[in-house]
């Protein structure tokens, strides 16, 4: 992608768990050499935002499956390798990986 990738990490409250997920996502995207801006927010705020990628737990991503071109479901917010693998696959599908 020729611009900064916009990524949202979502959770219910929008400031605790999603902040943890944001840290994990930043590490995973850095490892993939993707230029990205990651923000964390709550589910209802996420509905009104535009993003390229939304990441969250299944109980949340099921509700916003159409809110971004790429929606990634993770169950372990600290699993960098798992998130990195999912991002690699999904971003490559979109042609967003160099």
């Amino acid at each position: 992608m020729d611009r900064t990738l916009e990524v949202l990490a979502v959770c219910g409250v929008g400031m605790g768990s999603s902040l943890m997920l944001k840290m994990t996502a930043e590490d995973a995207l850095r490892a993939l050499n993707v230029d990205a801006r990651v923000e964390n927010t709550d589910l209802s705020t996420a509905r009104g935002m535009t993003a390229d990628v939304i990441i969250g737990q299944g109980m949340h991503t099921d509700e916003i499956a159409d809110a971004a071109p790429v929606v990634i479901t993770v169950s372990d917010f600290l699993d960098k390798e798992g998130l990195q693998a999912a991002l690699r696959e999904r971003l490559a599908e979109k042609g967003w990986l160099a």
Binding site: G12, M15, G16, L19, M23, H60, S75, D76, L78
Partner: protein, 150 residues
Amino acid sequence: MTAVGARDGVDADGWRAATRAAAGVLVEMGAAAAGYPDACVRVVERDGPYIVLTKGLALVHARPEDGGLAVGVAATRLAAPVEFGHPDNDPVDLLLAFCTPDADAHVASLSALARALSAGLADRLRGAAGDAEMAAELGRALPEEARPDA
């Protein structure tokens, strides 16, 4: 500065009691108001057990306006694990509770906590002998300016 506390060997008959006990440590430290534990339970009732971030570990929290008085972090280890109803990460034996007076004050502490969890903090807390060692492990995970003894 971040208030840090820990409680080992807590008996809880289910996730609500475990969540209240974990957030209750914050109330005892004076970092959260009396209504905060119930607010933490309501978060899970409303939004599901997403606070179970990884295998066996829940991050208990609510919004600042639900009773956050200071930035506080507390670790609670259960005598017996409980089910939150999470599809992958149950059962939970370790709870980290946090509170914050506003939406920005906690970012440095929680970011440091995320890094420390990735580097094995949960296992160090599980291996600690008692409240004092758990609190010391937690304190070491925080950025220097946020530590209680700084």
